[in-house]
Every structure is written in structure tokens, then in C-alpha cells.
Symmetry: C2
Subunit: 244 residues, 2 copies
């Protein structure tokens, strides 16, 4: 087993709708075959034009009622509801199931690091497709076969604080599955499916931070023997969700 | 922002109760001031003698009943109950709140990578104290001021697979708290408390694996500006737990 390096990509400009993120990232990094590029969801969303302007939002009665209970902006609550298929909890914070199936606060709708007082970003429509497109464009521009993780920080049940997770991936495994393999004593490992894409997202966050304008990082030296997967495979199917 | 390196510590022998883990780790790594040593809970538990032999366990009626529903070993269920203060779910898998407050499957009781068919390991009694003791012993032996994370893989609500988290820490922050800081546009960041100790545990898992007998890793180059904390601070207090 070799060391793994986590390298910040610095100096990216503010991303605008339509920007060629693959080009901007390739110019500022030395991407090699086998590298894993972790990009913050927010810059993907910006490049894809996934904004809403709260000034144009008319909140419904339901949004107003929810907002009253949480001392929130009813227009923001309306945008969250528009991005969601189910409200999971609305005590203190609005936890929803997004159209993708993610369970998270505010459907990932966010106004931090977004220009303008009333602008918010939405999650990408299909984070796996976004990751695939970025991976293919990097192959064209940098001639490097890299994996791509699109990451966002989510809260967790039972634990304090937020942690980076993988929303969409391309060219790398979601999991390393040890089931059926022998442990160090020859006994079969059970129930050991490690969500390595989430761990890669978490590792990258250590060099990304929230205010240093480092929305991307490269993880170098991680080459698991496992088939490539999708970010959507990391979403627990409703029938196996004990905490709906 | 500099790169962060994640370095596996290889060649550790099978750990026995009473072993000087600090010595065994120091001999096999080049620990420097500011490094963060991540150690798998299982080797901490082994060194602390936190074993139970299922042959000596007499399951209660409650344990037998729970085990029947989950096709599990009633003696194992009894050990899990002994380590727990509350059963959170018992469909398919036994999710409990441990005496420490962790919500996890089987209270962290595990028989993988443990010698003997009927031996299981238990979580350390006080993982923060275990981390502190290891940190102090490493300072004596290796003359290095390192942070220590004791990590275990936990399942998550709503997401598939397990991920390494920090059970106990010493000499490093549990969180980096961005609340009140300005974002890149001068707006105040809200609700942004990142659980960096969990992200460090996750990063280390990438080089540790489950079968390669690499139960420890060093994270080098991560120096957040935040006060040191405790692993227990990562446990969500019951009054803020929406998913009890």
C-alpha cells in the first residue's frame, strides 16, 4: 500500500454559467492518469447555471408556514420544496429528500459563496452526468484518464457537524466491497462495504475549506481494485432506509 | 494551502492485550510534530484487552428474541445489549446507542480480524482517554507532538456503505467552525461546522483497508487553525437528535 496525496487546486476564478471548468482546472493542475479530481458541487452548479434568484420566487402557503416555524426566508423554503420530493424533518432545520434521493438540509440549496444577496445555487440536476461530462472533457484537454467526484458537505444523523460526501462520480468505484473475502484469520468478512467515494470526498475537503476559494482538489495514489460506480448507488434505497 | 499526505503504517504484528501500541507504531513510522496518527479502534481495543468470549455469555430472553428476528447469534446480541443503553432499530440489523452515546450497528462489537471463533472485540471504554494515552506515550517514545484519532467504520442513515469516523481524538480539533466568518463575497457563513476529525478518519481509511493488516496511518500536512477537541463532541446530543 502506498501513500495517498491530497493536493489543492488553487487560483480558480469565480465560476460563471457556461465556463469550461475542465479547462480552468486543467490549467491549474498537473492531472495524471489515475488521479481523482474532487470538485465542490457549488462550482459545478455555477458552471451549469443552476441558480435561482429569490426575488423571482413567490412562496406558497405551505412554504410560508414552514418558514414561520424555522424563522427562515419563505422564498428560500419555496425553492427547497421545488427541489424536493418529501420533507423528512422541519424542526429547526428543513431536512428533505431531493429529487435525486439525497436526504439533506435545504435540498443543498445554498447562498454562501454565491454573488448577490438573493441568489442561491441548486444541486446539479444529475451529478453523475456532470461528473462524466467533466471527466470526458478533461480527457480531451489534458489527455489524462482521471476519476471525478462532485462533492458537497452534508449533515449526518447522530453526529455533529457536516462532512463532504460524493454526490456524483465517474471513473472510480463508489464502494470497495470486502464481503466474502477472508479476514486476517481466514474468517469471511460480512457487511463490509466501504463507501470509498465518500471517503475521497472527505479527504479532499481537508485541503478545500469553505472560505479559501479552493473548490477542487486532486487525490493521487489511490487505486482500489473495484469496478467503477455511480454516485446514485450511494443513496440508500427507500426499502432499506430505517430512518424515513 | 499545502498538500496533505496519507501514509500507511505497515508491518504491525497482531496486537495482544497489554502491548505497547505507541512503541510498535513509533518503530514503524517516522512520526513528526504536527502529524496526525489514525489508529483503527480494533487494535486499540485489543491492546486494552477489550474482548469477550461468546462461550461464556448466557443470552437473556430479550437477546434470544431479538436474535431470532435477525437470524443472529443470541450470545452476540447479548454482548451488544451489554454495551448499549438503547436499541434504536432491530430490523435486519441491530442499531443501538452505546454507553458512550454512539449510534451504530452492533455497538461496535465485532468478530472480524479477531483470533478465535467465539472471540469478539468491544469498543474502548473511553476512546478519548485511549487517544490521549497513546498521544502521551508517543511523545515520550518518539519525542513527537502528534494528534491521535481512534477510528472505526460506521454505517450511515440514508447512505449505503460504511465510512470511517473518529471515536476518540487527542491533540487535534474535532471541528473547524466557520460560523461568523465571511464567505468569498463578504456574507457571513452560517451552519458551517465541518467535522474534520471524521474527515481525517475517512482519509486514513483509504490506505488502511480491511484485510491488508494496515490498522494505522499518518496524515501529514494538515494543520487547521482551530482548538483541540474531543471525539465525544462529535456525538449529537439527544435534544438535537431528530432521528431517535
Amino acid at each position: 500500500m502506498k501513500s495517498v496525496q491530497v493536493i489543492p487546486i488553487e487560483g480558480l476564478p469565480e465560476i460563471q454559467a457556461g465556463d469550461d471548468l475542465a479547462g480552468l482546472v486543467s490549467e491549474r493542475s498537473d492531472l495524471k492518469d489515475g488521479d481523482i479530481l474532487v470538485v465542490a458541487q457549488k462550482v459545478i452548479s455555477k458552471s451549469e447555471g443552476r441558480f435561482r434568484d429569490l426575488k423571482t420566487v413567490e412562496p406558497s402557503a405551505h412554504a410560508r408556514e414552514l418558514a414561520r416555524g424555522m424563522e427562515s426566508d419563505p422564498r428560500l423554503v419555496q425553492v427547497v420544496l421545488d427541489e424536493s420530493i418529501r420533507v423528512v424533518r422541519s424542526d429547526r432545520v428543513l431536512i428533505v429528500e431531493t429529487r435525486h434521493g439525497f436526504v439533506c438540509a435545504n435540498a443543498g440549496v445554498d447562498h454562501s459563496n454565491v454573488p448577490g444577496d438573493d441568489n442561491v445555487t441548486l444541486l446539479p440536476v444529475d451529478p453523475d452526468a456532470s461528473a462524466t461530462a467533466l471527466r470526458e472533457r478533461i480527457r480531451e484537454l489534458a489527455h489524462a484518464d482521471v476519476g471525478v467526484v462532485i462533492a458537497d458537505t452534508f449533515g449526518r444523523a447522530w453526529r455533529v457537524g457536516i462532512e463532504n460526501v460524493a454526490l456524483g462520480i465517474a471513473g472510480l468505484p463508489a464502494f470497495v466491497d470486502y464481503r466474502g473475502q477472508p479476514d486476517d484469520w481466514g474468517k469471511e468478512l460480512r457487511a463490509t462495504v466501504v463507501a470509498v467515494a465518500d471517503e475521497l470526498a472527505a479527504a479532499a475537503e481537508l485541503v478545500m475549506g469553505k472560505t479559501a476559494r479552493v473548490p477542487a482538489a486532486v487525490v493521487r495514489g489511490y487505486h482500489p481494485e473495484a469496478p467503477s460506480g455511480r454516485g446514485r448507488d450511494l443513496i440508500r434505497p427507500p426499502e432499506f432506509d430505517l430512518f424515513r
